[in-house]
């Protein structure tokens, strides 16, 4: 076993000798990003700023997110309230920074959860094939037949709005949807000769799926996860917009834009403008970063 495996691995350094990697691949990706992908770099900067704002919200801002001040209602932009205040005199910039926490928490949480689920369903479905694959895929078909928003709204209204629930639900939806892509890649990896030889050597299911198929599916998983982040953040915002996300008084970008506050926006248009700008910037940032990472990591998946 080990002898043959060494020979199989032994062919790899010859390929590397042609173009020796100067750095580890995860460092190299970022160097390439800065050198070749200006839009991707811009996206990374936006995402980084958003992260900093979210992490240091309570350090940077002199206000609390739910701190009301009835003497300062609907104050427009000034030195003490950079982006103005809302109908209860709460500082808009502070609320946006805390709102970034929810977007990132739900975004990363749901994508992490969903990636694990997608990998599990995709790899198992592809590896075992046959009847198990057929039924699993009909289940995925059924899930994908629903307009995502309708299904998510129904489930959220059943579970009740909370940060944990929305992460769980968005993660499940993300996982089921993307299991298709993982399955397709796993199917093609499964047919490669080295998987066959691993099986001929008596490798068990766990050894083959975890040791041989998974490492080759990993770049696709990373790409699916990064390009999916913006969609998850946008979906979280639409659910919060409809009042099915994280409940007030905790601020979310979708919730700040929502219909419930529409009457106040006529008096204070910045209440509509800034959350919309923040959300667009975040989605733009994650989109650009995801696209660039996809180009650098997995050119096969390059879309329109």
């Amino acid at each position: 076993m080990s002898k043959v495996a060494t020979t199989a691995v032994g062919t790899v350094p010859r390929v590397e000798a042609v173009a020796p990697p100067a750095r580890r691949w995860y460092v190299d990706v970022w160097v390439q990003m800065v050198l070749r992908k200006p839009l991707g770099t811009l996206g990374a900067v936006i995402v980084l700023l958003m992260l900093l704002a979210a992490v240091f919200a309570d350090v940077v801002s002199p206000y609390a997110y739910a701190q009301t001040s009835l003497r300062e209602r609907f104050v427009s932009m000034n030195a003490s309230h950079w982006l103005g205040t809302d109908q209860l005199g709460r500082d808009l910039l502070t609320r946006l920074m805390y709102g970034a926490r929810i977007s990132l928490y739900v975004g990363f949480g749901a994508v992490a959860l969903g990636s694990v689920l997608a990998t599990l369903v995709g790899v198992l479905s592809a590896y075992f094939g046959g009847r198990a694959d057929l039924w699993m895929q009909r289940g995925v078909d059924a899930w994908m037949a629903f307009p995502p928003l309708l299904l998510l709204m129904s489930i959220m209204s059943l579970l009740g709005p909370s940060a944990g629930n929305i992460t769980l639900v968005l993660g499940a939806a993300f996982g089921i949807q993307n299991s298709r892509i993982i399955r397709a890649v796993a199917l093609s990896v499964k047919e490669l000769t080295y998987v066959e030889s691993a099986r001929a050597l008596g490798g068990g299911h766990v050894r083959i799926t975890v040791g041989h198929i998974l490492p080759n599916v990993l770049p696709t998983i990373i790409v699916v996860a990064t390009t999916g982040l913006s969609t998850v953040i946008l979906t979280e915002a639409s659910l919060s917009f409809l009042g099915l996300g994280v409940p007030p008084p905790y601020p979310t970008w979708g919730g700040m834009l929502s219909l419930a506050g529409l009457d106040h926006m006529y008096q204070a248009p910045w209440l509509a403008i800034w959350p919309a700008v923040a959300l667009s910037l975040a989605v733009f940032g994650f989109n650009m970063l995801g696209d660039a990472l996809r180009d650098l990591l997995d050119p096969r998946l390059k879309g329109g």
Partner: protein, 315 residues
């Protein structure tokens, strides 16, 4: 061809079965608070148990499922709303034209913008117009449609004292007035959906323009306009059409929010209001009807490909 059609239909049936199980199971996980709310808040029945019996919730689960599916398959009966006791299918059909019109207008807007910009972008690759088009597409992808909708409702009323029309008039009573009402929502929704169409149109057209029959067309001395519009566009449109087919659920899902913002009495608003009142039969049946429509639509698209391209039938 006949075998292919049969096989595709046979594959759609288990999907539909799973669809019905998903919505049904979801609704049975409900906490009992709708019954509580109906009895305690609105006195729909003397006791909780009486109302449960009245709504048929005291029966075993498989009986409820069989009853629901049986009613749909044998009588076209999708159940009744808990609150109004009206048949769901009647209300659905009354409201469906609004949602369908919104979806069609949105598709028209996004196709006109997306295909138009996509053509210019591909024909003038790597020029200023190409970059402008691509930046616009990225922007359209980034702006959330509900955010744009809120801005369109709020800002013009402050700056220009202009507000969208709120009272809905159906197309059959006054087509012109109806289109005036639908124009703003369809434009807002369509613009934000034009991004992906533009991107796929651009890459598909670039692909086609490099093929040999296009070179032949050039060497025949045809004008650029004729080559692009008559020869290349037809082939480049195929991926665009399948993208629109794939995105149908997004158009319908998004209409919930658009209808809620612009107060259009469509299926989306019906669904949203039913959710707010925990009216589960409505939520369940509307989900089922729309998912079934999507499955049927995908089946039609698949069959039309097989019809257009004989190679697919033998795969």
């Amino acid at each position: 061809m006949k075998r292919y059609v049969l096989r595709r239909v046979a594959l759609a049936l288990p999907t539909l079965f799973f669809v019905s199980v998903i919505v049904f199971a979801m609704m049975r996980m409900m906490p009992g608070d709708v019954v509580t709310r109906m009895v305690e808040g609105h006195a729909y029945a003397p006791t909780l148990d009486a109302l449960r019996k009245d709504l048929g919730l005291d029966r075993p689960m498989y009986v409820q499922y069989a009853d629901w599916i049986g009613g749909i398959l044998t009588r076209g009966d999708f159940g009744r709303s808990y609150w109004t006791r009206q048949p769901i299918i009647d209300e659905f059909l009354r409201r469906f034209p609004v949602t369908l019109e919104l979806a069609l207008l949105t598709i028209v807007v996004s196709v006109v913008i997306g295909v138009g910009v996509g053509i210019v972008s591909a024909a003038r690759q790597d020029t200023v117009s190409d970059y402008t088009g691509r930046v616009l597409a990225i922007l359209a992808l980034s702006v959330p449609y509900f955010g744009l909708a809120v801005l369109v409702v709020v800002l013009p009323s402050i700056w220009f004292k202009w507000t969208p029309v709120w009272t809905y008039v159906s197309f059959t009573t006054d087509p012109l007035e109806n289109l005036k009402i639908m124009a703003v929502p369809a434009l807002v929704f369509g613009v934000t959906r034009a991004g992906p169409i533009m991107r796929i149109m651009r890459s598909a057209l670039l692909d086609v323009l490099r093929q040999e029959y296009i070179r032949t067309a050039w060497s025949k001395g045809l004008s650029e306009r004729r080559i692009i519009l008559r020869h290349a566009l037809k082939n480049a449109l195929i991926p665009v059409i399948s993208l629109i087919g794939l995105q149908m659920p997004l158009y319908i899902g998004g209409s919930v929010i658009i209808e809620a913002i612009f107060r259009l009495p469509g299926v989306g608003l019906f669904f949203f209001e039913a959710l707010g009142k925990l009216d589960y039969p409505v939520v369940q049946s509307v989900n089922l009807i729309i998912a079934a429509m999507v499955v049927g639509l995908n089946l039609l698209i698949d069959l039309s490909y097989a019809f257009l391209d004989p190679r697919i039938r033998y795969r």
